[in-house]
């Protein structure tokens, strides 16, 4: 067991205007990221996957609060560190890449200067050394003419280039963990593949572990070693990537798989999971997926299923986990 990050029983809540109770956005998530591996965190919008990563890095919005849990990183619990201690870790040991390369870069600061900022901040490099290092990493992430690009502003770069700049920023200090929050969602498919390949190459070179937050199962298949599926603030399934795609067990995961467009005979409709994500203030008592589950039984509505081990580290939060063989939809 050599995990770079171990999240245990993380609970995060949000205050909301006009309500007394706080909404629980993340409800007891356990997650472990092995050193140098890529872990996927999958789920639909609002399921708490981004909140999980923001809780760990102390970047929650003002109305958010970590209620309990721990996040062990290099033997320290990130959730109990001061803002100052966290700042020393952020960008240096843990860095993040965000979804929108268009808006993740400051429009009025040259991109090179933005990348170099982390080096100057954490390693105290002088301007010239930081620039040399930045140009080198920019070349490495496949930015042509890095010396010229260094002084350019974000609007002068294409979306793909901008995301490469973000990756350069994230990888500059060879962090132990890179949290990538939907890094390719805003990009063309062809650029997406390039960016994923780039991240994998850099990962191999630096031994960086990646937490890949995405709703795209294609990305998961491409890059992840292990996958956690989240639904309504809880982990509902965990498996290595092969097991997940071969024999996922939770009805929600199976629904996601079924909703992937495939080459099927003409006329078949694309499967979709009925209903919508439950309201944060009106969570079902039992299994949170029960109201949308086509296999839900009486018990599912009244009792919360535990995270069962199906063997080999394959975890599933369901009373009646299924194999892929009795899947009929899709």
């Amino acid at each position: 067991m050599d995990n770079i990050l171990e999240i245990k029983n993380l609970i995060t809540s949000f205050a909301s205007d006009g309500r007394k109770e706080r909404a629980i956005a993340v409800n007891g998530v356990d997650l472990a990221i092995p050193r140098g591996k890529t872990v996927g965190l999958v789920g639909e919008s609002g399921c708490g996957k981004s909140v999980t990563s923001l809780s760990v890095t102390g970047l929650l919005a003002e109305n958010g609060r970590v209620e309990s849990g721990e996040a062990l990183f290099q033997g320290r619990d990130l959730l109990r560190l001061s803002e100052k201690e966290l700042r020393a870790i952020r960008g240096n040991d843990i860095s993040m890449i965000f979804q929108e390369p268009m808006t993740s870069l400051n429009p009025v600061i040259p991109v090179g200067v933005q990348v170099a900022e982390a080096a100057r901040l954490h390693e105290g490099l002088d301007k010239a050394t930081a620039k040399a290092r930045t140009v080198e990493i920019m070349r490495k992430v496949g930015i042509p003419e890095p010396e010229r690009r260094y002084g350019q502003y974000p609007h002068q770069l294409s979306g793909g280039l901008r995301q490469r700049v973000m990756i350069a920023m994230g990888m500059l200090l060879k962090p132990d963990l890179l949290i990538a929050d939907e890094p390719t969602t805003a990009l063309d498919v062809s650029i997406e593949a390039q960016i994923l390949r780039l991240m994998r190459d850099l990962q191999r070179e630096n031994g960086t572990a990646i937490l890949m937050i995405t709703h795209n199962l294609g990305v998961v298949a491409e890059i992840c070693d292990e996958v956690y599926v989240m639904y309504a603030g809880e982990v509902v399934e965990r498996a290595d990537v092969f097991t997940l795609f071969k024999s996922c067990a939770h009805p929600y995961t199976r629904g996601l798989m079924g909703a992937l467009p495939r080459m099927t005979p003409k006329g078949q409709r694309l499967y979709n999971i009925r209903g919508t994500v439950p309201n944060l203030w009106a969570m079902p008592v039992g299994c949170r997926f029960a109201p949308r589950c086509e296999f839900a039984a009486e018990r599912c509505h009244g009792e919360k299923p535990p995270l069962l081990d199906l063997g080999g580290g394959h975890l599933c939060r369901c009373f009646a986990p299924r194999g892929l063989e009795d899947e009929h939809h899709g």
Binding site: L59, R87, R90, N106, P107, V108, I109, E117
Partner: protein, 303 residues
């Protein structure tokens, strides 16, 4: 109380920023250069301002007479080849006095504008970024300032502190910071939710650096416009106050010259026309420049 150009601009800007997500200011420099090519009023404004500044700086080289040299044998003479703008009731050369008065009036335009710009920017950034109590305190303070008629407030300050040029700076700074603070706060509120701020935080950048290195540069284009419109405002306020007799009686600014010349308005109109025109030209030049800059910088104004 009249609304100045600047007030209107401030009000519109605050609203706009809150209404619509401000587009990132891309290629501002190119946009400004382009504006000067097409907007000749702004270009003329810029040239006139430069000329006025040069005249003020090199005043001794331009004028033939000491602005304070009395010549009682030569009182209230109309403009002539000797005295371009005539002489005043004590025989002083009006042209010299206008040029030297320009030094003072420009200083009165610049100094309080710089002070209120810095003050308004820092307070606006704090209010916008820190939020909560800090925001509440700063903005209520701004509301109080904005609720008073500006001229009245400035006059009260002058009466309380006494008539001196330094107190004039203080009075003008007090009436101007609140508008700037509002604009900066509004823009900060919108900017701090941007992903690039989150990205900077995720790199371990401190709050201080985020505010001053990441948010402030994004506010600069608007601040430049506000500053350009602040200057003529301050010159106007000072002139009004000097005219009303609350200015520094020893500082021969354009406003004071008009005020002193008003007793001879019918007999010797050049005594008020010369400094009056100086005020007019300067204020218009700054307003043309400010308007042009605003059009170049503010994408919403373009039609």
């Amino acid at each position: 109380m009249k609304k100045t150009q600047r007030d209107l601009y401030t009000a519109r800007l605050s609203k706009q920023i809150l209404d619509a997500d401000l587009q990132p200011d891309v290629g501002v420099r190119a946009s400004i250069i382009n504006m000067f090519r097409t907007n000749h009023a702004a270009l003329a404004g810029l040239i006139v301002i430069l000329l006025i500044i040069l005249a003020a700086v090199f005043a001794p080289l331009i004028t033939r007479y000491d602005p304070n040299a009395l010549n009682l044998a030569n009182m209230r003479k109309p403009p002539s080849a000797e005295h371009w703008f005539g002489t005043d009731d004590m025989g002083r050369d009006v042209f010299s006095r206008v040029i030297y008065g320009g030094r003072l009036s420009l200083m009165i335009g610049f100094v309080p504008s710089v002070i209120s710009l810095v003050l308004g920017t820092v307070l606006g950034l704090m209010a916008g970024y820190l939020g909560r109590h800090v925001d509440a305190v700063i903005m209520r303070l701004a509301d109080v300032v904005l609720a008073f008629p500006s001229l009245l407030l400035a006059m009260v300050v002058m009466y309380t502190l006494g008539s001196s040029i330094l107190n004039m700076f203080i009075a003008l700074s007090i009436i101007n910071w609140a508008g700037t603070a509002r604009v900066v706060r509004a823009q900060t509120l919108s900017l701090k939710e941007k992903e690039f701020v989150e990205a900077a935080r995720s790199m371990g950048v401190s709050r201080f650096s985020i505010v001053f290195k990441h948010i402030l540069p994004n506010c600069l284009p608007n601040l430049i416009v506000l500053f350009t419109l602040d200057i003529p405002g301050a010159i106007m306020w000072e002139s009004s106050m000097s005219f009303l007799g609350v200015g520094d009686p020893n500082a021969a600014s354009w406003g004071l010259m008009v005020s002193q010349g008003k007793s001879y308005a019918y007999m010797c109109p050049w005594l008020i026309l010369a400094p009056g025109l100086a005020i007019l030209v300067t204020v218009m030049a700054f307003n043309f420049l400010g308007d042009g800059l605003r059009d170049a910088i503010d994408p919403y104004m373009k039609t």
